[in-house]
């Protein structure tokens, strides 16, 4: 006999509303299903209604945590559409901001994961050290979270030379702290008991289900957009792609923590090698008919933007594929065969960000059937 355990749309383990349906036999999970769409905001449609420049700030708001990744991907796509070459200095500054964001996103995630397994001290300490990165972001871009720094053809703000010593000093501090956290996470008995060997995503499944980012790198799949398809300044910087073979939650923790160290390494190189030159290239408001794809390694994985221009100052269509959307199928092998008590930490382990993810679905309340609306229907429905 199986029965259904619903997690969501309202549940303390989820910070955003989404519905997960677990079929449970005793404590064991035998089947898993997901229903998305609770935070659909119609952003892709809205992107068609605004001009290219205004869209930067809309794309920035698709995800609060990886906003620099979103604007970088958006700007990259539009720059390709218009054939704009970004100046060197701007590319390095984008890299610095992207990496700072990765550090802060991974620290945020590590804190939440610690909270999920009831380790509140570690949670507080992670978030304390995350403040260091946020201070840097605030200094460079003018805001802790939403940087509003990228623009078409470059960046809006310079990393001034007087910032450099402070950046290097903070990175030093962070590096020490992160090493200590890695030490704690790999040795603490209670953390190992909760994380090791659970929520395993085997390498084959990770490849088959097209998982991205740290989720798949923790299963030993060696992909990283930064290395495989270098954008910004990543082609001029040497760094390693972190992988772990095990695929369990612990491997995901370790991959993310080691990526923080790698990000510190990248930022340090970028800050030191910051070339001189202009910050932004000239742009024209209207873009000739064209299409382009931009890919960025966001903290959660590959972020893809696809845009079509039609000769006006507004895009014909912009499509966004966020990393969480790509990672959701890989939940199934992670959950099935596990126990109910593992649900929160395994859910958290892909670092889900549902607000980025949602599509529209209609649920018939009488039959309980789900139907995903097509774009045409959606337009008719709106009118």
């Amino acid at each position: 006999m199986t029965f259904v355990v619903p997690i969501g749309p309202q549940h303390p383990a989820l910070k955003e509303p989404e519905y997960f349906r677990f079929e449970v036999k005793g404590e064991e999970i035998v089947d898993f299903d997901v229903r998305l769409g609770y935070v659909h905001r119609g952003i892709e449609r809205a992107l068609q209604e605004r001009s290219y420049l205004h869209n930067i700030y809309l794309s920035e708001r698709i995800c609060g945590i990886c906003n620099v990744a979103h604007t970088t991907a958006y700007c990259q796509t539009i720059e390709q559409l218009a054939g704009i070459e970004v100046p060197d200095r701007a590319r390095f500054i984008r890299t610095i901001l992207c990496e700072l964001e990765r550090i802060h996103s991974h620290m945020l995630w590590a804190g939440i994961a610690a909270h999920e397994i009831g380790f509140d001290t570690l949670f507080m300490l992670f978030w304390r050290d995350r403040e260091l990165v946020l201070d840097l972001k605030e200094m460079i871009s003018g805001n802790r979270q939403t940087s509003a720094s990228n623009t078409l053809g470059g960046v809006r703000r310079d990393v001034k030379p007087e910032y450099v010593p402070k950046i290097l000093r903070t990175l030093e501090k962070l590096e020490k702290a992160t090493e200590q956290y890695i030490n704690i996470c790999t040795s603490d008995r209670t953390i190992l008991a909760r994380c090791a060997g659970i929520g395993v995503l085997p390498k084959d499944d990770a490849k088959k289900l097209c998982a991205v980012g740290p989720t798949t790198r923790a299963s030993g799949v060696d992909i990283d957009i930064r290395r495989d398809d270098p954008y910004d300044a990543y082609g001029q910087i040497s760094f390693d792609v972190i992988t772990e073979p095990d695929g369990d939650v612990l491997a995901k923790v370790i991959v993310r923590l080691r990526e923080i160290l790698e990000s510190i390494h990248i930022t340090r190189q970028a800050v030191k090698a910051l070339p001189k030159g202009p910050l932004r290239a000239k742009i024209t408001p209207k873009i000739e008919p064209n299409e382009a794809i931009g890919r960025v390694e966001a903290p959660r994985g590959e972020l893809l933007y696809y845009a079509i221009s039609n000769g006006t100052d507004k895009p014909e269509r912009v499509r966004v594929r966020t990393p969480t959307y790509a990672n959701i199928p890989s939940f199934k092998p992670m959950f099935v065969g596990g126990t109910v008590a593992e649900i929160p930490i395994v859910l958290a382990s892909i670092d889900p960000c549902f607000a980025c993810t949602d599509r529209v679905a209609l649920v018939d309340s009488h039959t309980g059937k789900t139907r995903v609306l097509s774009f045409k229907e959606l337009r008719r429905w709106k009118g």
Binding site: R50, L53, H54, N55, I56, Y57, L58, R61, T121, L122, L125, R128, E131, D135, E138, M139, G142, N143, T146, A148, R156, R157, Q180, N183, I184, S187, D188, R189, T190
Partner: protein, 108 residues
Amino acid sequence: MPRILPQVLRNLFRRPATVKYPYVRVEPPEGYRGRPSIDKERCIRCWLCIRTCPVRAITVNKETKKPSIWLGRCVFCGECAEACPTRAIIMTREFELATYDIQQAKSE
């Protein structure tokens, strides 16, 4: 023995990393994008700010014939300050903008 124990005990005798916010304030750094303020004397009514605002938060005040920024909508991107040819709009470091009166959620 848990590895975190020494750190936890050390924290006991250190000054906390947090501050009692409304009583102790941490000033945001130079260049922080807070409430945009408008210098009416400098404004030459070119309306570049209105055109550049991504969220259409800026309107024309009917009485003074000068721009007025609705802070409920403003995303503090600083595009208006960048676009203003006379630097009449600047981003201040104020960030405590909550108010009970919607009429006050404006920068004029």
